[in-house]
């Protein structure tokens, strides 16, 4: 059963950027792609737990700020060393100007 949670206003995230969203003791990363679609992943890099929201978004890639490990934030797929484990992703929808993520 879906568990939709309001993460932020849609304008809180600049195009081709990412912000951090903390909820219930967990941390997430909310992305706005160049094509204005929104995505969400777990917030910490699977390599050494740096906050991905401090990283760099390039097209559909998020680069970790600590060791430059890269993921495709649409699928969570790790793109090669030094990241080997994929990110968990979460469904996202827009509702009345808000970015909602499904934490079910």
């Amino acid at each position: 059963m879906p568990h939709w949670v309001e993460a932020c206003d849609r304008d809180d995230v600049e195009p081709e950027d990412v912000i951090r969203f903390d909820h219930d003791g967990r941390t997430f990363a909310i992305y706005r792609a160049p094509d204005d679609r929104y995505y969400a992943t777990e917030g910490l890099c699977t390599h050494e737990e740096a906050h991905l929201a401090d990283g760099l978004v390039m097209d559909h890639i998020i680069e970790c700020p600590k060791h430059n490990g890269r993921f495709d934030y649409r699928t969570g797929a790790a793109q090669g060393a030094p990241v080997c484990i994929n990110l968990k992703t979460y469904p996202v929808k827009l509702e009345a100007g808000k970015v909602m993520i499904d934490l079910a």
């Binding site: 950027d17 390599h47 050494e48 737990e49 401090d54 990283g55 760099l56 390039m58 680069e63 700020p65 600590k66 060791h67 430059n68 890269r70 793109q79 060393a81 030094p82 080997c84």
Partner: protein
């Protein structure tokens, strides 16, 4: 009390100081970062192929000119200056190329980073898989004893090793043993601490390819009855061209603090001339690089300007840095607990080992 002052340090990644680093909260810890605005940092982090393509075209052209003239004048004495220049390109400028492309920041396009990374790694005889992972650890645990596999000058200083490193004797010896070990499908216990299982087939394959290339160059030299192929490709140019990368590389951390969580205390930023900065791809801005490794080399001078209010005074030149480094590492031969203490701008507090240890103790 400085533990390093009372007992010899164990630089092994599986020894006493490795366990101590973990107990003190120094392993994979949170490091000081200057409070630069996210918006400005994001601007500086932007990637571009333009600068690195330009620099790589120049780099390849410099290889062709120096190598071509060295071959043209071979075996006369006039080939010597061209070999010296070629060697610096081969054995020294490759240091910054593997490094920047290993971070994936030099080019925006990934395959370009990967291609230059592989070539530069071969030139400097740093196996791509090993060094990608060892360098990740170097950034996680910079100059943390027992954690950082890339501490260039360990204490007490082994001065003969430092001197021989200028012609890459220890590096090439270690690399040759490592390539042979990996070609046979074996790893050291230390490597097992930082190279994941899934990377091992790639490590072994690369070692076998490198071994085949090196043997091929030796075979060519034997077949042609000339040492010329070996002066152009392989361990010899890595060695006769190493001096510049060792000279610039030692300015990064030598003589400074160990076991601190603040790159301002264990790294140096040194002003260098444009030629050196081209060969070194701006790694002279080393504190800035460690603090924000996502900023590409071509944006480091701008990052340096942004971070000045929080940084110690940069060194005016390599000469200025070595006026500090040489006495420091000589003193560390007999007094391994001693180190250079960097002065931060007035009112700024460093994050040192005891700060972190206090935090760890307070957390229980």
């Amino acid at each position: 009390m400085n533990v390093a002052a009372t007992m010899p340090r164990d630089y092994s990644l599986i020894g006493r100081d490795s366990r101590r680093a973990e107990e003190l909260g120094l392993a994979s810890a949170e490091w000081y970062k200057a409070p630069i605005a996210r918006k400005r940092l994001k601007e500086l982090m932007q990637r571009s192929d333009e600068a690195a393509i330009r620099d790589t075209i120049l780099w390849i052209a410099a290889f062709l000119v120096t190598g071509g003239l060295a071959i043209t004048f071979w075996p006369g004495w006039w080939s010597l200056p061209f070999f010296l220049a070629y060697g610096v390109l081969y054995g020294s400028s490759s240091d910054s190329r593997w490094h920047e492309c290993g971070h994936g920041t030099a080019f925006r396009t990934r395959w370009m980073n990967d291609a230059v990374y592989q070539v530069a790694c071969f030139m400097i005889m740093r196996e791509p898989t090993v060094w990608r992972w060892s360098h990740a650890r170097h950034h996680t645990d910079t100059i943390i004893v027992g954690r950082d596999p890339e501490i260039a000058v360990m204490r007490p200083t082994q001065i003969a090793k430092v001197i021989l490193s200028f012609i890459a004797v220890p590096q090439v010896w270690a690399a040759t043993r490592s390539i042979l070990r990996h070609a046979m499908g074996r790893m050291t216990a230390e490597e097992e601490t930082f190279i994941p299982d899934m990377e091992r087939p790639k490590l072994f394959l690369t070692a076998r390819i490198w071994l085949a290339i090196h043997l091929g160059v030796i075979a060519l030299a034997i077949m042609t009855g000339s040492i010329l192929p070996m002066l152009l490709v392989g361990p010899l140019p890595t060695m006769y061209g190493a001096w510049l990368h060792v000279m610039t590389g030692l300015t990064q951390h030598a003589g400074l603090a160990e076991d601190v969580l603040d790159h301002r205390l264990n790294s140096r930023t040194v002003y260098m001339n444009p030629v050196l900065r081209f060969l070194y791809w701006n790694m002279n801005y080393h504190i800035e690089h460690h603090m924000f490794p996502m900023v590409p080399y071509h944006a480091l001078p701008k990052l340096h300007e942004e971070l000045k209010p929080w940084m110690p005074k940069p060194y005016a030149s390599c000469f200025a840095a070595y006026r500090e480094i040489i006495p420091a590492i000589l003193r560390q031969m007999r007094d391994p607990g001693w180190y250079v203490k960097r002065k931060l701008p007035d009112g700024l507090e460093p994050v040192d080992m005891m700060t972190r240890a206090s935090i760890a103790a307070a957390r229980g």
